[in-house]
Symmetry: C3
Subunit: 216 residues, 3 copies
């Protein structure tokens, strides 16, 4: 399976996909580094959290798929992108106030991208659609979860309104688009849009999933 995955990947690294992937890596790394600096960590801590946030989800997906070493360690572009993002975060942290809404929007874009890319990689490797959806969600939320565990927080996926749910929605949309016979590009676009829009509406409307009686 590893070999077939590799050969299919080798056939498909369009410039658009690569740019999108590196864009998601940059945004997530920036967020991770800013979280570290907000938590009074030093430069190295910021780099570690940048790496973990940006690359963690994809690494867990690749480990579970048996695609080893993971993409993040095969190509120097991924760690280098995370490194640059951490340096940028460190540079601007004292001087620039980043509007929260900008960060939330970029994060929703990164989430949509990673969730769709993860689901697609799993489907291409011949995994069951249900497993592919799970791997897509893990790709989208895995990095942020590692970041929260490192900061000794309960992970955002367990707390934040409609975050992992949006990743799940995007992954499911991708599976349905495939079943309907849509082209890979159209399916991926629709799925990423579905995830992004659901996440932004949830932020805007303060949507929440039902909780237990004790919580309400």
């Amino acid at each position: 399976m590893t070999i077939s995955t590799q050969s299919r990947r080798a056939a498909r690294p369009s410039t658009l996909v690569l740019l999108a992937d590196l864009g998601g890596t940059f945004v997530f790394a920036l967020e991770g580094a800013l979280a570290a600096l907000g938590g009074h960590l030093d430069l190295f801590g910021a780099m570690v959290l940048a790496f973990a946030t940006a690359l963690g989800g994809g690494v867990i997906r690749d480990v579970l798929m048996g695609f080893l070493p993971p993409s993040a360690l095969r190509a120097w572009t991924y760690p280098a992108t995370a490194f640059v993002a951490a340096a940028v975060a460190f540079g601007i942290d004292r001087h620039v106030h980043i509007p929260p809404l900008l960060l939330i929007t970029l994060d929703a874009a990164g989430l949509a991208l990673f969730a769709v890319a993860g689901t697609e990689k799993a489907l291409n490797a011949g995994l069951h659609p249900l497993s592919s959806v799970l791997l897509g969600v893990i790709t989208g939320v895995g990095g942020g979860t590692i970041r929260d565990v490192f900061l000794a927080h309960v992970p955002a996926i367990l707390r934040v309104d409609v975050y992992a749910t949006a990743a799940l929605f995007g992954a499911v949309v991708l599976v349905f688009c495939r079943r309907l016979g849509l082209s890979a590009a159209l399916g991926a676009t629709l799925a990423a849009a579905a995830c992004f829009v659901l996440r932004m509406i949830a932020v805007w409307q303060h949507w929440q999933l039902p909780g237990s009686l004790a919580a309400s």
Copy 2:
């Protein structure tokens, strides 16, 4: 090794083993979901913790054995069982009070089952008995450990009296039964019984392992 593992597995999926495995998955998922709801998490958080608690131990074992993708992602029955358990937990949480002793008993049964199944899978793959015992313990306690880390608790295996110790005992009994030439079914039954009984006696008698001077 992966291939030999697969072929041996393919030869051995008796209905009893499968039912027992899914039973353990259901119980652990139920516990994970109830822990999430007790921690005021929403429906999605309950699902995430149900999956992590029920499938985490087996996933770590399969990753360490190089059996990838892990069983939990190969067959849709495992995630589906965890999903149903989370839905059940969500449905009954407001209406039914589950007696703690029932939960503890079910949990001990799940622990015994997972510890023995994990040890057996490792032995069948030709791993060293000591490594197989470690993998059995990881299978039994891994999911609950991930759940506790997510909830930012010190894992129960580090705190609770004779929990991982019971898994260790069951795994060691299995190795000895194999050495004595007992049949696989008899060895697994004796080992699971050993783990279950030790755990229940420890709960009943409030047994504790010796701690440091400061703790006593």
Copy 3:
């Protein structure tokens, strides 16, 4: 890749490397067990933390390299060494006060050893130098990070002055020594010395990396 890694390893297990590896395992396991006992955990908890601290970094490296099962589960010597260290920690905890400087020195030696061994293993497997450096750092700091996550602490690598930085320095020195054509033994010695000396100077001089404005 797994096969080539194995065969190269099979050709290189010099007694010195093995002794150094087991020495690092012993020191890290001792530290893990002492941390557990300091946190009022019982004997089994001490063993779990000893294993996780001593073997965690190498296990994560081997998983990411696809070298499965990881070394720690292939040879019984690694878990056995960790087990003995945990028993020693448990035995001396009540009677002997270990000077902090001795522990810090031993820990710096273990860090240097693991960082260099991890980088070398990755380079030998043909990984990119940047990835090899990352894997070396992960090998050095991974176990301690798991220990801290289990104890619900923010990991030391995110807090402690020039700890992971020292591992990074050693790994980079090794890559440069290789590029300069130095022998494997000389390169490893220089790299380990670089890591160890940087770490000890940082402890001695209370060096800190620059943090965010809020932290300073």
